[in-house]
Amino acid sequence: MTTTPTPDTPPARLPGGKRPSRPRWAVAGERALEALIRFCGVSAVIFVLAIFFFVFREAIPVLFGGRFDIGEFLFSTKWYPTSMSNVRYGTFALTVGTMTVTTLAMAIAVPFGLGAAIYISEFCGPRQKETLKVIIELLAAIPSVVWGFIGLTVISKFITTVTGTPVGVNLLNGSIILALMSVPIIVSIGEDAFKAVPDSFREAAVAMGTTKWQLILRVLLPAAKNGLLAAVLLGVGRAVGETMAVLMATGHSVQIPHGIFDSVRTLTANVAAELGEAAAGSDHYRVLFLTGILLFAITFVVNLTADMVIRGVRRR
């Protein structure tokens, strides 16, 4: 077998023992350009490290300031950052807020997202598929602040008229908005997962006389389960990190919710709401940066897991 020469194999010599050469400036220019390309390639790593570094740098003084307790930060529900006498920085209620909103959003988004992914990948014809995918892409493009506005106006009105609760901006509202926002990512990654199942699986099942439904239930779902898990995880990642929409739609009181019509506040919304008011360099300001580190860590773990799951699928 002959191997194709890549540009890294040295050029053949011309008759007379000379190598073909280009002007020195051209070679040097190309070297410089390739160095630049390499640098840009590494830039993503630099940016991630820089994000961690700069956010952490602003947060660090409070950690060693003596008035701050990391246990209280993580597990206390008392968030009184601007209290005169009793300043408390406990984010537990915010964490619970983030988790409840995300869980409820996923409870809505996952069945619909996966159902839509199954329909797109297995039931519809090429033209319909194309149309649906374009619509999903447009759905994914709607800015979060517009979603927040929709939650504040349309969905809040809808909730108050249908259920009769006095306030329409609450846990349910935020979850509906987040569900609508994370459905597109679940659909597109889920559809990829179904597409990744080899056609021979389908052919074998159809040859046994299965209907499409049996094929989906018995063959495709088990075969694509890792990809679907990754789709759900990426949806969770999107929902946890979402800021503006939950800031506008969840009603914003720091409490552990007791029902779906309670108002909650999430970690992201809390930073967005209070960062403007916290004086730069104050404890409050630094604690908000620490919240940022917490969020960074949560989404890092979620995305990393999703990536490992997807990678596992590919390797197989």
Binding site: E34, V45, I150, A280, G292
Partner: protein, 301 residues
């Protein structure tokens, strides 16, 4: 008695049952797909209906009046254009070069796995964390202050993964034999990229750049603390109202402001702002999709 072929292949109750189940499943999944679209269309229709009284040319070019309760959105519109194009000017070269590195130069070793991981993670970092980073790094550490440039830099880093991902996809859709043919006539790696790979993937790269524009136009949280302000006095129809070191208004921020921070805003104004923002973003995205379809139709290989 042996069952005849006709009996064996007739539609017995079992077959009917499974076919009925299949029809039910089909309709259930169809309605799930449709249920995603129906609320979207209804909501957009609702927004446009409520925005109609304010939606006109005057609204676009007029400045906000009476504490943003009346008037238009011109300063916010221009601010968004500023932020988008400056962030694009920063993110596009870095993103495209990074994608070239990842697709054309990188071998499968630990460094490049690390870079991939970083790109994925950068795409997943919450927008509010980008805001904190922008505040810590550009506003304070780099002493750029609350300004257009700080906000644009923050947006650029935030939208970098969009460009990297779609450029990579465009580059990797260029078939390998194209490169091999070029290498075989003695071209170096960069010459091959310049002469063969980039011309064959330019429309895909453009799609990525357009998607970056739509993403940057819609983001609110990252610019909220790095350079966007509630209000800035600007002349009507002025195209160059901001310096790089000025603070600016932005459409997304303006929508947040008029809906949550200012009391008694005329209802149609906030709806119209939402519709304009939505319209801009969806139009930019639709053009990216159109470009992609056009490109696919004239692909030669």
């Amino acid at each position: 008695m042996e069952p005849t072929a006709a009996v064996r292949f007739s539609r017995n109750s079992f077959v009917r049952n499974k076919e009925r189940l299949q029809e039910i499943a089909r309709w259930v999944f169809f309605s799930m797909a449709i249920l995603m679209i129906v609320p979207l269309v209804t909501i957009i229709g609702y927004l446009v209906c409520h925005a109609a009284p304010s939606l006109n040319w005057e609204f676009l070019v007029e400045v906000p009046k009476r504490g943003m309760r009346e008037g238009g959105i011109w300063p916010a519109l221009v601010g968004t254009i500023y932020l988008v194009f400056i962030s694009l000017a920063i993110a596009a070269p870095i993103g495209v070069l990074a994608a070239i590195y990842l697709n054309e130069y990188a071998k499968d070793n630990w460094l490049n796995r690390l870079i991939n991981l970083a790109v994925i993670n950068l795409a997943g970092v919450p927008s509010i964390v980008h805001a904190l980073f922008g505040l810590g790094a550009f506003v304070y550490a780099a002493r750029l202050g609350y300004s257009v440039i700080s906000a644009s830099l923050t947006l650029a880093i935030m939208t970098l993964p969009v460009i990297i991902a779609s450029t990579r996809e465009a580059l990797s859709s260029v078939p390998m034999p194209f490169r091999e043919a070029c290498w075989n006539v003695g071209a170096t790696r960069w010459q091959t990229i310049k002469a063969v790979v980039l011309p064959n993937s330019i429309s895909g790269i453009l799609t990525g750049v357009i998607l970056q524009v739509s993403r940057a136009a819609g983001e609110t949280a990252p610019i909220m603390f790095t350079g966007a302000v509630f209000y800035k006095a600007v002349k009507r129809g002025d195209f160059f109202p901001y310096q790089l070191t000025d603070q600016c208004m932005a459409l997304s921020m303006h929508l947040y402001t008029v809906t949550t921070q200012v009391p008694d805003v005329k209802e149609s104004i906030s709806y119209a702002t939402a519709v304009v923002l939505l319209g801009v973003v969806l139009m930019v995205n639709a053009s990216a999709i159109g470009l992609r379809i056009w490109m696919r139709n004239r692909k030669k290989w």
